[in-house]
Amino acid sequence: MFKAENSNIKQIINNNWQQIDDEIQSDRAINMLGSQAIINSLIAEGVEYMFGYPGGAIMPTYDVIHQMQDKIKHVLVRHEQGAVIAAQGYARASGKVGVCIATSGPGATNLITGIADAMIDSTPLVCITGQVHKDLLGTDAFQETDIIDISMPITKWNYKITEASEIPKVMARAFYIAKSGRPGPVLIDITKNAQIEFLEYSYKKCLHFNSYLPEPTPKLQAIKEAASLINHAKKPMVVFGQGVILGNAEQELKTFLDKSGIPAAATIMGLSALDNKHPNYVGMLGMHGNYAPNLLTNQCDVLIAIGMRFDDRVTGTLATYAKQAKIIHLEIDNSEINKNVRVNVPVLGNVKFTLPQITDRVIENQFPEWCKEFDNLHQQELEAVIKQDLNPKTDAISMPEVIDMVNELTNNEAIIVTDVGQHQMAACRYAQFNQTRSMITSGGLGTMGFCIPAAMGAKLAKPNRTVIGIVGDGGVQMNIQELGTIMQSEIDVKIIILNNEFLGMVRQWQELYFDKRYASTEITSPDYQVLASAYGIASAKVVQREQLKSTLQEMLSHDSAYLLEVMVGQEDNVFPMISPGDSVSDMRLK
């Protein structure tokens, strides 16, 4: 017999299959162009902003964007990578589907990095690319590239539309697939002829797709087993990830923690799902996370993983990861169960629904002795790392003290968007959050150049919140062209460049593991103030600690975009750290 978790395969197939594709019923069909159908579909899905760049194969659709600009706003970026990352920033801050649009060939391939980033970080996106006329497919036509095949392993779904009549149905499916279940990027490639043909248009949102089961149905047995394990635990620990945010289950997490009394740590993608001041919160996991939750992962007796995927940056070596613990895994995606870590009780389903059922069954509890162990280790980290980080004895400003000052001046209310590297780890370690969806960072893919475009998207999604981009001098020079977008679209983002004149994280590894051979990690910067002024963006540079607070205040009170460069210690390292290949319990403080 073929092994399957659901034994009755035939029934499943037949049941799925009998749901006929009846999403579209043309009751009040309107005759219109394919390009109009594309934009009307976006409007029907409630899309407010799209980020993109025009070009030959998508021009008919841009013609409609121009006509419909009172209904849907298009943000012209400076490079398609900026478009897709801005769409991600928008999606991550708003919880809605991010939309980007590009032409065929290079326009489409320039989206790839952002799509891969969205795939690994489960960000809902719909990416629309133009394609050459269907009669030219396969002929190496001008700006023809097979973006469907190129994007296949990094999209949740993709589809090539070659007939205008397919547009409403496929667009509806694209949005449904992008946002349902475990979200992800969807790419729709639309040939030029489909944009200029007429169709009978009517739009109906997609509610099911016959071969796709977005959320497994929770099993009561698993919930009971999980609750029983928790109720018998002496040293339980919660590790939560972005699944909490994606499932809008922040309140459910808090209720569970309040009742169960279990200490909880966040993955990088789970940051801001729980207020940093929550009494059960014990910090961030992972390679540069906090000392206590990493070490105690290997001492807890029950590990409750909520909407996270045991990334290697969280687990260190799997050979010694939480071997003593019984592991409960609350997860929406069946393929994550037992992928990296063997789980004792998998609880499949959306944590929004599974977690409250567990909460109902757990006893009210406190773990004072166990929590004291977290406190003790935190004290060690405080003495060995945090105090120096926040109050360095050197003349040079440290990255953490900048983040700490930002916390103070924004009352922990800002949306923090980071790039990738040392400054990212400093921001993730030290930024404080009092509301969800406040940390937007490239967690899985580690995409440099993420900060500026993602910050633009986040600001457009949340115009009333302060959006602060924290970026290094390396990352800022990738996608720096988006300063042009900030200028043209007047997006009020505050960007702080933490400049150590190095590609800092790689340099740190070279110092620790390559005998200080700094291969290609010294990097020079342009004069950022001159650059900012070329774009008409206000700017300042801070070298002395005394200037930091007042300049940050000036930045925050400025009524439009602002670029602030802060010179920081050149060879500062991020600690604590789990060396690659080491165990979480071998985390080093220096």
């Binding site: 034994s7 395969i9 197939i13 299959w17 090539k160 697939i177 992928k339």
Partner: protein, 168 residues
């Protein structure tokens, strides 16, 4: 992970999907991502209209086949993916052999060989004869080995297709 997980074996994966352009690439990319060779692949219609069945043979560990199966089943266009070891399935292959007709005429041994293997003759041309043999790989291979000395002009073997031993 147990020792059993790390042991390499032949696995047959059966997966069901709608027939949509590109779905085969989506499926094979899950294998190529981890540089796992596909030993054979067969696509056919099923008893359900519009549903296609893919039989994929790979040699790998239980740990990996389990992971890949879930990653394939997760694809939006895939209805179901399951895997099995050889002891749990009934499988069959077909092989075609093209040999020079002169050896059929001149050499009495070839008749014995074909008879012994219960092979069928599909076509006789003045220059070549096409022989068909169904069976497991070792059976079609045995016929190949016996015919080889007489000169095989062309040989092709389908991948195995398989059906589970218990109703699913």
């Amino acid at each position: 992970m147990t020792e059993f997980d790390e042991l390499k074996k032949d696995y047959t994966m059966a997966l069901f999907s709608r027939n949509r352009a590109g779905i085969l690439n989506r499926i094979t990319s899950v294998f190529s991502r981890i540089k796992l060779n596909i030993d054979s692949l067969n696509v056919s219609e099923t008893e359900t209209n519009g549903v296609f069945r893919y039989s994929v043979r790979v040699n790998t560990t239980e740990k990996l086949i389990r992971r890949i199966t879930k990653q394939i089943e997760k694809q939006v266009d895939v209805l179901k993916a399951v895997y099995a070891t050889d002891d749990l399935i009934v499988q069959q292959e077909v092989a075609l052999y093209k040999i020079p007709s002169e050896v059929m005429i001149d050499d009495i041994q070839t008749e014995d060989i074909i008879r012994k293997h219960h092979a069928k003759i599909l076509r006789i041309h003045r220059e070549y004869t096409v022989i068909e043999k169904t069976g497991h790989k070792h059976e079609t291979q045995a016929l190949f080995d016996e015919l080889e000395p007489y000169g095989i002009l062309e040989f092709v073997r389908s991948g195995p297709i398989s059906i589970g031993k218990i109703n699913y």
